[in-house]
Symmetry: C2
Subunit: 184 residues, 2 copies
């Protein structure tokens, strides 16, 4: 890809993220973003239709990075392994400021929904691998696990991370294992 595109996008995203951290989304203007990104205003419009599109793509990027972090290293898509969970919580801890802002701002729903959707997809993939088709409704189970996980993460981040990432990973893993034991 043309490196100019990459550079412009990066500059705009960085500027937007930075502004999100220091003020409300509603107060952010395209002018500000362009100025901070050191990019012409028109360039912003050539990449994003409006500021909502920008927000969505920003969310998309960050969540993708989160999931990459979660899945990388081990080629197995196994989310419930300790290593994977640990890295995820550490990543969240590092970017806690951003995620906290995202989850508490007025535009939080967009972020939360996107996160939930991706988690649902991830859990579905997990279940597809495991060979259980008992008397439990798969669809409901997926919602159950996704919501449970997201809920824990959201609570942890928005409550100033009262426990260390390592501990959180252990606890969540323990909860997941408890289910697996139930199954057998």
């Amino acid at each position: 890809m043309d490196r100019r595109i990459e550079k412009s996008r990066q500059a705009i995203m960085d500027a937007f993220t930075k502004l999100m951290l220091e003020k409300d989304f509603e107060k952010i203007t395209i002018n500000e973003i362009a100025e901070l990104a050191n990019v012409n205003r028109g360039t912003v419009y050539s990449h994003y239709v409006d500021i909502f599109d920008l927000l969505n793509q920003c969310i998309e990027n960050h969540i993708n990075k989160l999931f990459e972090t979660c899945q990388s290293r081990g080629n197995t898509t196994d989310i419930s392994c300790k290593d994977s969970l640990g890295r995820t919580f550490t990543y969240l801890e590092k970017h806690a400021f951003f995620y906290s802002k995202m989850l508490t701002s007025k535009s939080a729903t967009a972020f939360r929904n996107r996160l939930h959707a991706l988690m649902v997809k991830s859990v579905e993939e997990q279940l597809a691998l495991s060979s259980l088709t008992k008397d439990v409704n798969q669809e409901i189970m997926v919602q159950y696990f996704a919501s449970a996980t997201i809920g824990v993460v959201e609570w942890w981040v928005t409550h100033s991370m009262p426990y260390p990432a390592e501990y959180m990973a252990e606890q969540l893993l323990s909860l997941m294992e408890r289910y697996q034991n139930m199954r057998t």
Copy 2:
């Protein structure tokens, strides 16, 4: 000015300066610079005719910054004031790694000559303000002071700054003042 030009120049200069610090000038290639600057190779050539031009402009930029630092704040062009000298040595201390490299590398002459030329010009301006036209040859005096100052600076930088910047400023000021007392 078009912000693209500014950005490209900055990226190229930064990359070049960075490479100068970690390897010999002779070993640096245009390819490397373009890659590190994240810029097309052709862009480098559109701003600089070759790597020597790049070196010269790099030198020019750094020396200009040095002199700006030296002259800023006090609108008076008085180099020999304590404040001004202090700032200059502090600046040199901060960028010592770069200046040391510049003054010891094989391409040092270019840098040294440019520095000397600018110092000569500066001293000339100083003398033009002061109303002394005694029995001393002005041209020689200019060379004398310029060389003296540069010599001290060069020695200080290339010898790992054996004294703090503050102290150097004091000492040099003292030497300058001694001359002024002689004059009266």
